[in-house]
Amino acid sequence: MSLFHRLRHTDFWTRVTGLIVAVLALLLLFPILRVLMLGFVDADTGAFTFGNFVEVFTRNYYLNGFKNSLFVGVLGTLGACLIGIPLAFFTARFHVQGQAWISTLAILVLVAPPFIGAYAWIMMLGSNGFMTNFFGLFGIETPTIYGAHGIILVFTLKFFPFIYLMTQTSLNGMNKSFEDAAENLGCTPWQRFTKITLPLVFPAVSTGAIICFVLAIADFGTPAILGRGFRTLSTIAFSAYRSELGGRPTMAVTVSIVMMAISMLALLAQRRILSKRRYASALTNPPVKQRMTGWRNTVMHVFCHGIVLIAMLPTLVVVYTSFLKTNGPVFIGGYGLESYERILRTAPEAISNSFVFSLGAVVLITVFSGLISYVIVRRETAAAGAIDFLMMVPYLVPGVVMAIGFVTTFRGGPLDVVGTAGLLILLYFIRRLPYGVRSATSSLRQIKPSMEEAAVNLGAAPAKAFLVVTVPLILPGLIVGALMSFITAINELSGTLILYDGGTITMPVQIYLAVLDGEFGLAGALSTVLLVCTGACVYAVFRFAENRDSAFL
């Protein structure tokens, strides 16, 4: 049979599976493999070598970066656990006033542009920060925000919502009988907490912690802005890329591979530990909330609200500074809208680009996540399993790596598309696709397959059945997925920094450049625009998602 013949006779979903595999191979696997290969290539001769890895593990410059990444990654995760777990425990087990408010703020922290935290803390505690200056008036010297501890502080406050939301979900789903039984067997409340409750939420906590750790290792904006000589693997990779520009970015890639290996190892270790601890239980006896009284109650409330307020502080500062009167980069006292005028004057294309690219990517993501979710959920082929697995990859691959992969794959030749809008859209598409797929998949799992079968049985071709029956039924999932991918796409920084050129600058890049130039008014105004978009999307997710908290994880 000729190929044409065969194509005509394969059914719709087989063709769709083929298309998905082709797209993922071209936009995900191929670029990543190209990048990985660069790590084993000599920059000058192009010959195969392990020299790059030898260099990373012998030269102090890289070794320090390695240690620094692990250091801030581990401590940032630990910090996030230290405030996330108690917060979850209090809100899940006790009556806390303003619960919805707390979880909303935590979610806002989660989705806020990634580097806002870093530069807002500079404005508060940097060498010319207003807190520094304020305390300086009284002769009090505030600790500097630059360096490892600053990065750890920002990571802690930025990533604790993962721990908090996951632990809280787990606590809310825990059968109360376990705790009752422990009490009945003579445990004190503290013993009960450490011996029963903590082990039972361990899977959730560790999953949250792994997310924090992977994100912290890959985070570029925070160490880039706060590091000042304290270099992590991600900033080293980026500057290596900058200095290797034009040549083969072998060192940038080698460092990135090490970064990914760390994340991968952490993930595998966690999976291994978890595989021995599977706690299934029916929620026959849902937990009840207790009332705390006296000074304990006050302390608990201060803690819960204090945490989310401090975590929100950077955002508030950013919005506040955007309304300060400026003259050029200088704040001249009083309030005004000059910063907004300036972004309209100097950076209108950053705003429009951000929207066009993100929306373009979201359209692609929505179409593909519908199709991919169907293939994953409804088809039991090897390809479906492989696609399901591949959807984890973008989470693990840092933006820098993905972008370098795009550069090496799509640069040169007749098809030099680096720096074009199309390529950025494709980058956002492939990096944020898993958000859409996750949401669509969980929606589709709740739809009985007999729905589509009934449609096909009544004469609708498979494509038509999908369009008129499946799509309307998973629409809420598609919308939530689209919103989530939009939020994460419009905030993308690290990959864009490598792929953009003058005409395709985006808001996050513009903010990053403004911060480096000390243009805090401009950065504040742009960040506020981003925040408003993100906030609007969060509100929309609340409207459409069945479980508002877990939609963001």
Binding site: D11, K448, S450, M451, E453, A454, A455, V456, N457, L458, G459, A460, A461, P462, K464, A465, V469, P472, L473
Partner: protein
């Protein structure tokens, strides 16, 4: 109206043989029921006819035209689902109109077609409701209406009543049968409820382990089961061993001579329906033409309309008899002797080994 012919149909799931060499003919307009225990392949057969999955080998023909390679949406066989599968985002009217729209029927014809069918299933007053505003029984009527409105060549139903409560099930059963008869649609119906199968069908096809055991009219299935499996699965049965003596054959329990009834060689077992066994209180006269089985009472369950008697014969074989309640019997204490009699014509014989085929 169409006949269905299935020849040598096989379906494997990996190593699991779900259907093994299915060959059957469904006459035009018949109500054909697939009956069998869980996991015997009923659903698999139905879904293979519908085209939801491909057969491993074999042919399916409707009115002589092969359909086994057609994609599901071109087969013109309509299915009623066990879980209703009513589209939750479409109103009752739009659900029923769905198939007509796929067939590009024009608007006015859709309108009259839908109205007609909704009338048939008595849902006209609910045409504008959404599915979540309907009861289970009403949803299943929508499922039925949606399937028959397209006048399919064949109607497939997979346990359509099993999610409904007992009373509704009996009501809807009669209604389904009436509608099917009025429209004359060839119907393949799946159930594991033998009462349902016997009450509704023109032909009952008993399946076990992916193999057709017997396909015949309900009465034939009951009175002349083709093998031991059918004899046990449809209605209850007592199985008593037959001992071969030199040239003769006797029931191990009671010793009645049954040699005249058995032509075949090899070990044989004798089946007796519980309702064919009469229990006699001590001291009643017994018709000399009947076979006598002396036994010891185990237990009596009084169920209202009837009583079930469990006993053990002198040869140690267990017997169950069903009869109208008789105070003289219900009063018997356990372990007391009881006499059973059977009309010799009520005995049927099956080979004891192999498939347990019925002996002529």
């Amino acid at each position: 109206m169409a006949s269905v012919e299935i020849t040598g149909l096989r379906k494997l799931y990996g190593d699991v043989v779900a259907l093994s060499d299915i060959t059957l003919t469904i006459p035009s307009g018949a109500f054909y029921t697939l009956l069998g225990p869980s996991g015997c392949g009923k659903t698999t057969l139905l879904r293979t006819i519908a085209g939801f999955h491909a057969q491993t080998s074999g042919q399916i023909a409707v009115d002589g035209a092969p359909i086994e390679t057609l994609p599901a949406h071109k087969r013109d066989v309509a299915m009623v689902f066990q879980d209703y599968a009513v589209f939750p985002h479409l109103s009752v009217h739009d659900n029923v109109a769905f198939g007509l729209k796929q067939r590009k029927v024009d608007k006015s014809a859709i309108k009259t077609g839908v109205a007609e069918v909704l009338d048939v299933v008595q849902l006209s007053h609910l045409a504008d409701r959404m599915p979540h505003e309907l009861s289970g029984g009403q949803q299943q009527r929508v499922g039925l209406a949606r399937a028959i409105v397209v006048r399919p060549k064949v109607l497939l139903m997979d346990e359509p009543l099993s999610n409904l409560d007992a009373k509704l099930r009996v009501d809807l059963r009669a209604e389904l049968r009436r509608i099917q008869r009025d429209l004359g649609i060839t119907t393949v119906y799946v159930t594991h409820d033998q009462e349902e199968a016997l009450a509704m069908s023109d032909i009952v096809c008993v399946m076990h382990g992916g193999i057709i055991q017997q396909a015949a009219a309900p009465l034939d299935i009951y009175l002349r089961p083709a093998n031991r499996f059918v004899a046990t699965f449809v209605g209850a049965n007592n199985f008593l061993d037959v001992d071969r003596t030199s040239g003769g054959a006797v029931l191990r329990s009671g010793g009645a001579d049954v040699a005249a009834r058995i032509s075949a060689e090899g070990p044989v077992t004798c089946a007796i329906r519980p309702e064919d066994i009469h229990a006699h209180p001590p001291g009643t006269a017994i018709d000399p033409g009947r076979i006598v089985l002396a036994a010891t009472m185990r237990e009596i369950s009084f169920l209202g309309r009837e009583m079930e008697i469990f006993a053990v014969t002198e040869a140690g074989e267990e017997i169950k008899a069903v009869a109208r309640p008789d105070p003289a019997i219900v009063a018997l204490p356990p372990k007391s002797p009881v006499t059973f009699t059977v009309d010799p014509d009520a005995l049927s014989f099956f080979a004891r080994g192999g498939n347990g085929d019925r002996l002529p």
